[in-house]
């Protein structure tokens, strides 16, 4: 009897392992940080893009929602999402904070002149160090936060039509 239990246990254990391996075959193994929502963005101090001042959490507490968007003039996909950013800028309940990432001032200004400036606040992160505070690992990357600076959603890569609709729905409620 004891032998039968041991055998059953071993067989179930093997079945379990094979089952897990089978399920994992269908899973995507590329990692992303989309799951890291619900956390609060704590104090930060970004250099304002053109003026000699800092942009801090206080500037964002006044808004119901803020979309923090990391971009650069040298980034191709950033152009793809620009039209959606311009549209979002027109929404009432949301403000856009653009953070220019590892870029030269002239190139960034040219980019905005060419495609339009969707940002209510514009900052720069020349060395890229601040991006780590936001959990950014590539650009373009955007974070939607609420008034209390809690992360509602992370967008890895350019904002798509679906992303735009999603944000629109959230801010219009």
């Amino acid at each position: 009897m004891q032998k039968k239990i041991i055998k059953l246990f071993i067989l179930s254990f093997i079945l379990f392992i094979i089952g897990v391996l089978f399920i994992s075959l269908n899973k995507n193994s590329i990692y992303d940080t989309k799951g890291l929502v619900g956390k609060k963005i704590t104090k930060f101090g970004l250099d304002h893009f053109s003026e000699n001042k800092m942009i801090t959490a206080e500037d964002l507490n006044k808004n119901n929602f803020t979309l923090i968007n990391f971009w650069a003039s040298w980034c191709g996909p950033c152009r793809d999402e620009h039209s959606f950013l311009l549209k979002l800028n027109k929404e009432k309940n949301i403000q856009l904070l653009g953070i220019n990432f590892k870029d030269k001032k002239n190139n960034a200004l040219e980019f905005l002149n060419d495609l339009g400036n969707p940002y209510d606040h514009l900052a720069r992160d020349e060395l890229g160090k601040h991006s780590v505070n936001f959990g950014i690992y590539g650009i373009p990357e955007s974070i939607l936060v609420n008034r209390d600076l809690i992360i509602i959603k992370k967008f890895i890569g350019p904002i798509s039509r679906n992303d735009y609709d999603y944000i629109k729905n959230i801010v219009r409620e």
Partner: protein, 122 residues
């Protein structure tokens, strides 16, 4: 005579403790333990990607600020998830990983020990 030998043995053994030192936080060691998130299986130490360069700057700043290794890892885990560190933190989910091998080791030792008991009981 035996006692003297044992004393000499442990003295010499302990002299080697002199050789062990606790280090100040070594940036390179931390880089080796961090995964470059946009690379295929490279550490931050080995990668030349933008992400790796940024992380190196931030970690160096934090070391200068006097942060400990654990604080730096916890910070990065909070921002990027556990995937970014190569040493899985010892928590409720991961304790299986850390303890199971030793469980196996002890079990193996017990099995072998039991094999002798049989013979020695004859």
């Amino acid at each position: 005579m035996m006692r003297i030998k044992i004393i000499i043995f442990f003295t010499i053994l302990n002299l080697n403790i002199v050789n062990a030192e606790i280090f100040s936080v070594d940036a390179n060691e931390i880089f080796k333990n961090l995964r470059c998130l946009i690379c295929q299986g490279q550490s931050v130490a080995d990668s030349n990607s933008e992400f790796a360069k940024t992380i190196k700057l931030v970690v160096r700043d934090q070391i200068k600020d006097g942060k400990s290794e654990k604080e730096i890892y916890d910070f990065l885990i909070e921002k990027y998830g556990e995937w970014i560190v190569y040493k899985p933190p010892f928590n409720r989910v991961n304790f299986v990983l850390w303890l199971f091998p030793y469980l196996v080791f002890v079990t193996g030792g017990v099995i072998i020990f039991l094999l002798f008991k049989k013979e020695n009981n004859h």
